[in-house]
Amino acid sequence: MPTLEMANPAALPADWRDFVALTKPRVMSLVVFSGLCGLLVAPVQLPLVLSFTAILCIALGAGACGALNQWYEVEVDAKMRRTAKRPLPAGRMDRQTALHFGVGLGAFSVLLMGLATNWLAAAMLAASILFYVLVYTVWLKPRTAQNIVIGGAAGAFPPLIGWVAATGHFATLPVLLFAIIFLWTPPHFWALSLFVRSDYAAAGIPMLPVVAGFESTRRQILIYSLPMAAASVAPWPLGLTGPIYGACAAVLSLVFIVLACRVATNRATEPKDMEAEKHLFAYSVFYLFALFTVLVADRFLA
């Protein structure tokens, strides 16, 4: 792509790649995957085109969340190395464009979900977008160290939405999937925030390591890992899945707890010495992918 030095790059029409970056595609991939799993494990199979549309709507909704999050946090993003190169803080796009894009994408995704599947799924998609933007981004994130704990609910919606899109009603299994992601979010984000603590501190975001310190955060990572493991295994004894899922969930969760124990016993304060935290963060992403893959495999093998 040719580059050109301009006095005000935001005066240019934004590049389409910046719109893609605004939707946080990497976060979207996990959201789409968990939504797809919720859809696939549902007892009702939708026609392929409606399943595709439901997943597309979940992806667009997640993209809207990303765009509105970046629109609101442009000043905070500019202060953090990890986020300073995003389209808004880097000045490649003006804020109003991001706002219009986010609102438009969110409204379109909800409308399309309602038309293609059912309005309960559309209402839940709308609720998850509003929860992420208003409750998490605007209210909790700049105010409390518990931001991730409560805000994690927004990221836990997709499997529930996928299930409801297929069936039109709630059930125990998707609620458990919601609980798994809800309880997985704090250890996942706190592991990350331990080794990028200085970034959050510089931006004035009260993440747990900034407010409560390293030791307390590491202890809480372990504490949250235990109910997360219980929620992960729970579908098996409740008779909602088969033994393949139960065995895999137990092994995956055990490894998660072992890594969380390593983090809990680590005393490092410098990011270069935080191998345990980096391992847990990387494993936590794999854990969720593996757990949900096994869930779908178990459903089809059974």
Partner: protein, 68 residues
């Protein structure tokens, strides 16, 4: 008179003169970059619109088949 003053409009010989908009001066390279991005966005918008028309058509067929 600055560009900003012209944007507000002005009084001339007792009559209000409408604001005059002037594009900020741009080099050929900048103008070419703007045109290139507009072309790219127009092309992508056209593809997306086409894809959504087809998607709506397929959704209609699927929902009609399901008799919802």
């Amino acid at each position: 008179m600055t560009i900003e003053d012209e944007h507000k409009g002005s009084m001339s010989q007792g009559r209000w003169a409408p604001p005059v908009y002037r594009w900020p001066k741009m080099s050929d390279g900048e103008l070419e970059m703007i045109r290139k991005r507009q072309r790219e966005r127009a092309r992508i918008t056209a593809w997306l619109l086409g894809a959504f028309v087809i998607l709506f058509f397929l959704i209609t067929i699927a929902k009609t088949g399901m008799n919802w």
